[in-house]
């Protein structure tokens, strides 16, 4: 009963906060803008558009062939003169092939659900994760800095229970928001695909894959929320979490990226958070080192590769979360509240 009432109070507190409302609405507006942008910049491709694209491809192919012929003729006409050096030896100018002018490239942008939805799910995850981080940080940070936490502890002198109930209220709130928004997001893009694209290739397996991707998006959002919460609780201020986030971006991303670039480190992506997020969302990220050359069976040069898998990214996420949230819980238990 006691824990339930505390949980209910914390959920009410979370929902009532202006900061929560502001950032949730902000995130939803960004997502709505993305949705509107995708809707407006894509169009349905029918037989007319295919015919038009084919005609344009053909026309450009013919134009290119004619231009090549013209250059070859010019080349032959200047043989024996100083201008001959401007052209390849023996006027070996190969004519373009028809396959170089794929009609697909002349199609208007169209939203293919199978190909494009994964990017949209990643966008959703990024926007909601950012909102969850800031809301999570503010939820506990403002409580510490306003003295509300001390007040609450006078009522419920069980520190770990208070902090973990707050975290639970945040995570449940973030889950509800993410699940609802993700469902609307998927339906909305299915609508976009129907009206401004296609749903070709969509099988139950594809839907299942999208479902799993959205599940990973949910985990990312919850991890971001818990991270913001943990950092702000450690520093007893919202600014602590935001400061760490900015510090990580400036020092560890821009700074480290620049240093690694100068030092010619083999796989700099390994040290940069966004690639780990991509690996988590897209199941893997393959980093390539173009300085290396590995000859394949056909004698072609292949770069060295390193694959960051979603399991590796997930493990890294768990380690960071355990460290930050664990430290927040430990200090909550030990510190004097003054």
């Amino acid at each position: 009963m006691g824990s339930v009432s505390l949980y209910r109070a914390e959920t009410r507190r979370l929902v009532k906060r202006r900061f929560t409302k502001l950032f949730t609405v902000g995130a939803l507006l960004i997502l709505a803008a993305v949705l509107a942008g995708v809707f407006l910049t894509n169009e349905k491709v029918g037989p007319d558009q295919v015919a038009q694209a084919t005609a344009r491809a053909q026309a450009e192919y013919k134009q290119s062939v004619a231009a090549t012929e013209q250059i070859r003729a010019e080349c032959e006409s200047v043989q024996g003169t100083p201008r001959a050096s401007e052209f390849p030896p023996n006027c070996e100018i190969s004519a373009p092939s028809e396959s170089d002018f794929n009609p697909e490239w002349y199609m208007p942008p169209t939203f293919g659900l199978k190909d494009n939805l994964p990017d949209m799910i990643t966008t959703l995850a990024a926007v909601l994760a950012l909102a969850a981080f800031v809301i999570g940080a503010s939820f506990v940070g403002a409580e510490w800095s306003s003295g509300g936490m001390m007040n609450l502890l006078l009522w419920r002198p069980r520190r770990l229970q208070v902090l973990s109930t707050k975290l639970a209220a945040l995570l449940v709130g973030a889950t509800v928001l993410t699940v609802v928004v993700a469902a609307i997001w998927t339906v909305a893009f299915w609508g976009v695909a129907k009206t401004r694209g296609n749903t070709i290739g969509m099988t139950s397996g594809t839907w299942q894959s999208f479902g799993l991707m959205e599940l990973r998006a949910l985990v990312l959002v919850l991890a971001a929320g818990a991270l913001g919460f943990g950092l702000a609780s450690l520093g007893r201020h919202t600014a602590m979490a935001l400061g760490v986030a900015i510090g990580v971006i400036v020092v560890f991303q821009f700074g480290v990226a620049a240093v690694l670039g100068i030092a010619h480190v083999k796989f700099p992506e390994l040290f940069l958070a966004p690639f780990w997020v991509i690996a988590w969302m897209s199941k893997e990220y393959v980093a390539q080192d173009y300085d290396a050359c590995n000859y394949d069976v056909r004698g072609a040069c292949q770069p060295d590769t390193l694959t960051i898998t979603w399991q590796m990214a997930g493990s890294a996420l768990v380690v960071i979360l355990v460290l930050v949230v664990g430290a927040a819980m430990w200090t909550m238990r030990k510190r004097d509240i003054t």
């Binding site: 006691g2 009432s5 209910r8 007040n151 006078l154 009522w155 002198p157 004097d336 509240i337």
Partner: protein, 323 residues
């Protein structure tokens, strides 16, 4: 009477790069049931540290504490529902209204929501209950803090400086409220610097200085124990006051000159004053014992009486206090 609150040998030491500071140095305190108990001490003496330690916000380094017969902090969760407290200045999230603030606390503590309106009415915030707390004056925040402490109908109410920021009417209302609560059986521990108020409303007091108890008991007992041996002396009109004072000083008296009188501080035997002066043909027209008030007892016990030409620092006390 049963003790509602007992503290024995409480110790709290802060360690920092600047060194070790003993905020509480074996502090003792007992509060009997149904009393309004004043908890007094100069700034930095350990009052708030004591209250925070008692309420589980600070971990002590030693000593024992119990509330309502239960050892704390071990059993604090069990008694927290019966203890209402405000510690130091009232602190609330500014963007919530008073009603929201209290109803969230009521939810968190499993208290009936109807109590919210009752306590808002009690502290006089009924008509401003829907305003955001950030628009409140210090006095209104103080009232809200008291309301939050009363929300759970506590058996023990601990209020740290509840009169801070209150207007004279508010201070009087607070005094009446404390009395009413005490009469209803609630035990109230009141920390304040307004010693006149404490003297008016408290049954007993504990005085702390530099982390130790320097006096405790009923207000009357504390005043009686520290009744000054000073007497106010007035002479017949036209007599040289300065000369008379000098005569007494020569005899070892501690004399402070007033406008048309002087006080003798160490007048254990007032008859000696009349005798010494009469021997010089100087006759006393008034010889009145100077009654000690809580303020002077406080200043004497805590060694914080102002000294001409000196700026006393927060942690500075006169040598010899409570040693």
């Amino acid at each position: 009477m049963d003790a509602v609150l007992e503290i024995a040998g409480l110790q709290k030491t802060y360690r920092s790069r600047k060194g070790v500071r003993r905020a509480l140095d074996g502090f003792d305190m007992v509060v009997e049931a149904g009393q309004v108990h004043g908890f007094l001490g100069p700034n930095g003496s350990g009052k708030t540290t004591t209250l925070r330690t008692l309420l589980g916000l600070i971990r002590p380094n030693g000593g024992r504490m119990s509330i309502l017969g239960q050892e704390v902090p071990a059993h604090l969760p069990a008694v927290a529902g019966q203890v209402g407290a405000i510690v130091e200045s009232p602190q609330f999230f500014g963007n919530f209204t008073a009603r929201d603030t209290l109803s969230l606390l009521a939810d968190a503590g499993g208290v009936r929501r109807e109590r919210v309106d009752a306590v808002l009415e009690l502290v006089g915030l009924r008509d401003r209950a829907k305003d955001r707390v950030r628009t409140y004056s210090l006095g209104m925040k103080q009232r809200l803090a008291v309301a939050s402490a009363l929300l759970k109908e506590p058996r023990l109410l601990i209020l740290d400086e509840p009169a801070n920021g209150l207007d004279p009417g508010g201070i009087r209302e607070m005094r009446t409220l404390m009395r009413t609560l005490s009469e209803s059986g609630m035990t109230v521990v009141l920390s304040s610097h307004i010693l006149g108020e404490i003297q008016l409303i408290c049954d007993s007091v504990t005085i702390i200085a530099a982390g130790r108890r320097v006096a405790a008991g009923s207000v009357a007992d504390v005043l009686a124990t520290h009744t000054s041996s000073s007497v106010k002396v007035r002479l017949e009109p036209g007599i040289d006051l300065l000369g008379a004072a000098e005569i007494l000083r020569t005899a070892g008296a501690q004399v402070d000159l007033g406008t048309d009188f002087f006080t003798v501080g160490n007048a254990g035997n007032p008859a000696q004053i009349t005798r010494i002066l009469a021997e010089r043909q100087i006759y006393v027209s008034e010889l009145t014992p100077v009654a000690a008030d809580l303020e002077s007892v406080f200043l004497e016990l805590t060694g914080t009486a102002p000294v001409d030409g000196q700026n006393r620092q927060v942690d500075q006390v006169a040598a010899g206090w409570g040693q």
